[in-house]
Symmetry: C2
Subunit: 205 residues, 2 copies
Amino acid sequence: MKHYTRADIDGMNKIFRLNLINSCTGFKSANLLATRSKDGISNVAVFSSVTHLGSNPPLLGFVLRPTTVPRNTFDNIKKTEVFTVNHIHRDMISDAHHTSAKYDGDISEFDKTGLSEEFKNDFFAPFVKGSRVQIGCRYQNEYFLKENGCILVIAQIEHLFVQNDIQLNDGFLSLEKAETVTVNGLDGYALPTLLDRFEYARPRE
Amino acid sequence: MKHYTRADIDGMNKIFRLNLINSCTGFKSANLLATRSKDGISNVAVFSSVTHLGSNPPLLGFVLRPTTVPRNTFDNIKKTEVFTVNHIHRDMISDAHHTSAKYDGDISEFDKTGLSEEFKNDFFAPFVKGSRVQIGCRYQNEYFLKENGCILVIAQIEHLFVQNDIQLNDGFLSLEKAETVTVNGLDGYALPTLLDRFEYARPRE
């Protein structure tokens, strides 16, 4: 195996380090976060850090990098309290990736990509049309991570829309059926195939 | 699409809600966290919440659920400051899932599964033998998430071991070549195939 020490990592070319460290923790979720400003300008941006935090109450979190593009997303969330999380499926990856380009706040990424917005249930933030899992979220809190200036945003799930045929009888969403993708590193998009599901694990004698 | 409101979610059967809410945020990383107690007893447990936090310095985080099994992991980390993160590949999923069973702290999951430990570079915590990406981490901080009692643990990467043939020239680890799996919900393990990688996105005219 190749062995990189901390000194090796610190001494790397920046791009090499970004590619390596972004892929070393494993696959990441692939979601579009959509918001709307008070002025009515929509914003949508790809995030690979959305994480399940709990089911009761239903909570999720995501991480904002200090130097990262989608500050518009955060500004809108702070002012309107709501945003949506929308799964990226295989046909959306090119448009989804393009939302990481640095557009000014008065430009909607919905106008610069093949992505379309839809509004429903009087929710202020737009959902991404065609996304097979859509979550309407309300901002609840944030934690400043002083180690590198990231912000962990925590939100409650208020609305959950799922395409009919992807849910099993026990509640499980088959992300394979939804063709939801996953992110490898900074820029790789991969499509998973289910290998197996397991029973609740109990100790062996 | 099916529409679940917050009231619907709160009123669900517990297992149904766990399956639904655990799968609605998308695919999760699949890692084994391994530690060793001061008494020398090893511990290994599956985690789906390991998240990239930054590359410079190289930081990762993971979330401990208040009601979740692997308190041994946390106790060992607090006392010894170190742990390892090890990718789960397709041949390891059954053993990896079994580490979620509730064993007492004086029992090593390495003795109850087909998983084996290995020690290297004088690192106090064991690595999982055969894992194709292994990370030696040092505890740095924790944040108590008051919304549901979870703890976000933040750690620095001190050692990174990668199987030779999975790394591309630009640093990117091909998790497809590593056969690293991803987690769907509580209990589903899936194997991704790379669709595409994209250039750094720049605004369109």
